[in-house]
Amino acid sequence: MSQNTETAVQEEIHEIHMHRDDFGSKMGMWLFLFTEVLLFGGLFILYASYRFIYAESFAIAASELDVLMGAVNTVILLTSSLTVVLGIVALQKNNKKLCLFFLWVTIACGILFLVNKYFEWGAKFHHGIYPKGPALQDMGEGEVMYFGLYYVMTGLHGLHIIVGLAFIGFVMWQIKKDVITATNFQKLENSGLYWHLVDIIWIFLFPLFYLIH
């Protein structure tokens, strides 16, 4: 090995040493996810408390929601989570094209979820169910609480979907540019972790808001 290549190798080692810490990156992501759990956890505890106080009103208000729509959105999100993880497998198997295809499916699922939410919220608005809306004026305290929590929690969740889509979009761009590769995929994993957390939150939102009788 010539002096030159040796220096180059040393430099490369140094660079990886300086800029790459996958374990730390993953740990940072998990810690961030716990702050998200804190955020949504607080809302879930609020939900539990008001459901405890207004059990019957919650059941009446929940009948306004379309179970089929909620179930379809659940299936869409579960599928999008699957395609993220399949994308990671594909990249690890060095199949960049397939990985990008899977991530495109995830993006499509995320957008479809938001479109469904748009129609769902739109229908509610149409019926006068929105903060200070005419339908809510005639409802009891419990129903008003239910719809308040419904809009805050599904709205915040929707925002997370948008952020997740942007994150995955950014990761896709880096995969295209070969910044994220088969041996350097922690960023892709991190975006996946975020997306799965958003999925898990929906897994709880769905039965708690749509399936009360």
């Binding site: 040493h17 993953k26 740990m27 716990f34 539990a48 179970v67 989570s81 994993e189 898990i200």
Partner: protein, 114 residues
């Protein structure tokens, strides 16, 4: 450095040069993940079906248990926690414990007040 490097190669099975913090490849397959997805879809239909039956006070517990099982699937397989370092498992456990403790404490207040 050299010593360190061979340690990493041993642990991760990867021939990367670095400081021991290179991502592990856990040799995942498409099949396992697709199976988990099918399981999740089945649980979703079960939770919708169960909600249709009048279970009374058990309905909420049933829905929550199914949701918990679903999220354990997502955490362990999709989020790779099953294959991950022990420290992440402890993290998740502590996080869930704290949430449950706060929830229980809140309900101590609620049940005695109403």
């Amino acid at each position: 450095m050299n010593n360190h490097k061979s340690d990493i190669t041993e642990v991760t099975g990867l021939d990367d040069v670095g400081d021991g913090h290179i991502a592990e490849a856990h040799h995942p397959t498409y099949g396992v993940n697709i199976l988990v997805w099918i399981g999740l879809l089945s649980l979703t239909s079960i939770t919708v079906a169960v909600a249709g039956i009048n279970l009374g006070s058990l309905a909420l517990s049933a829905a929550l248990i199914i949701a918990l099982v679903k999220s354990m699937f997502v955490i362990n397989f999709f989020m790779h926690l099953k294959y991950d370092n022990k420290v992440f498992k402890i993290f998740v456990g502590v996080c869930m414990l704290i949430f449950i403790v706060v929830l229980i404490l809140t309900f101590f207040d609620l049940t005695f007040r109403y």
